[in-house]
């Protein structure tokens, strides 16, 4: 079982600061855990496609309660667009992000 206190420890140990900006809203500083997942793109019609990866950040759901696709996350000096939202059952929201909108 995953407890709220575990979540805090997890973010304290592994998170980095990012700026989350909802469309037309005010930026806020949140903690996110950055991750990547291997992915093959455009593997159409049995051809091999292009190797790449998904960029994923995990945030506490309380920090991004109304997150929407096309909101932005700035990590370091780079701005990413949110392309997919996946809410988990243990208080986090996984955001797939992209450099392109």
């Amino acid at each position: 079982m995953f407890y709220d206190s575990d979540l805090d420890i997890f973010f304290t140990d592994f998170a980095q600061m990012a700026t989350y900006t909802p469309q037309g809203g005010t930026p806020s500083t949140i903690s996110v855990v950055f991750n990547t997942a291997y992915q093959v793109a455009v593997d159409i019609d049995g051809f091999a496609g292009v190797s790449g990866y998904k960029l994923i950040v995990e945030a506490k759901t309380v920090d991004v309660p109304n997150v929407k696709v096309d909101d932005t996350i700035m990590i370091g000096a780079k701005t990413f667009y949110i392309t997919e939202i996946q809410q988990t059952d243990f208080g986090t929201t996984r955001l797939t992000i992209s450099e392109v909108q």
């Binding site: 019609d45 496609g49 790449g52 998904k54 992209s98 450099e99 392109v100």
Partner: protein, 145 residues
């Protein structure tokens, strides 16, 4: 060497000439692969993979010959829809050049079988792909290709 192999060799040579220095839109000729089954890397974009997936025999052939339709699929990969469209134009130009010479005198005709099929995905970056399918019609002696 079979006529089929000669046609494929000509295709490979001509695709590799797709370079801006040769008057094409792109440098896709730097990354041409036959039957490649592992994904291209970003450094290999724009890139092309081709395969002669089917050699279909016509039911009616000239006497003493087999008439074949060699189906060749060319997959085009790039970093944007615009880039993929530019490579499609380059590949069509190459196929047109091959058609003009009847593939080195080896073929009777070239057909653009299915036009093109294109897809674009946006993950960490934008990636696009398209497939062009052609059929090269050629005659070979009976029991050869």
């Amino acid at each position: 060497m079979s006529i089929r192999q000669q046609i494929i060799n000509i295709l490979d040579t001509e695709l590799k000439k797709i370079l801006k220095t040769n008057g094409f839109n792109t440098d896709a000729g730097k990354n041409v692969f036959a039957w490649r089954d592992n994904p291209l890397t970003r450094a290999e974009l724009t890139g092309l993979i081709y395969r002669d997936a089917l050699n279909r025999k016509f039911p009616v052939s000239p006497i003493g010959k087999f008439r074949w339709a060699l189906r060749i699929e060319v997959a085009i990969f790039g970093t944007s829809a615009n880039e993929v469209r530019a490579v499609i134009e380059d590949v069509l130009k190459v196929i047109g050049n091959c058609e003009e010479t009847k593939w080195g005198g080896n073929a009777q005709d070239t057909l653009l079988a299915d036009g093109d099929e294109m897809a674009v995905e946006k993950h960490d970056i934008e990636t696009g792909a398209a497939i062009l399918t052609i059929e090269v019609i050629y005659d070979a002696n009976k029991w050869s290709m």
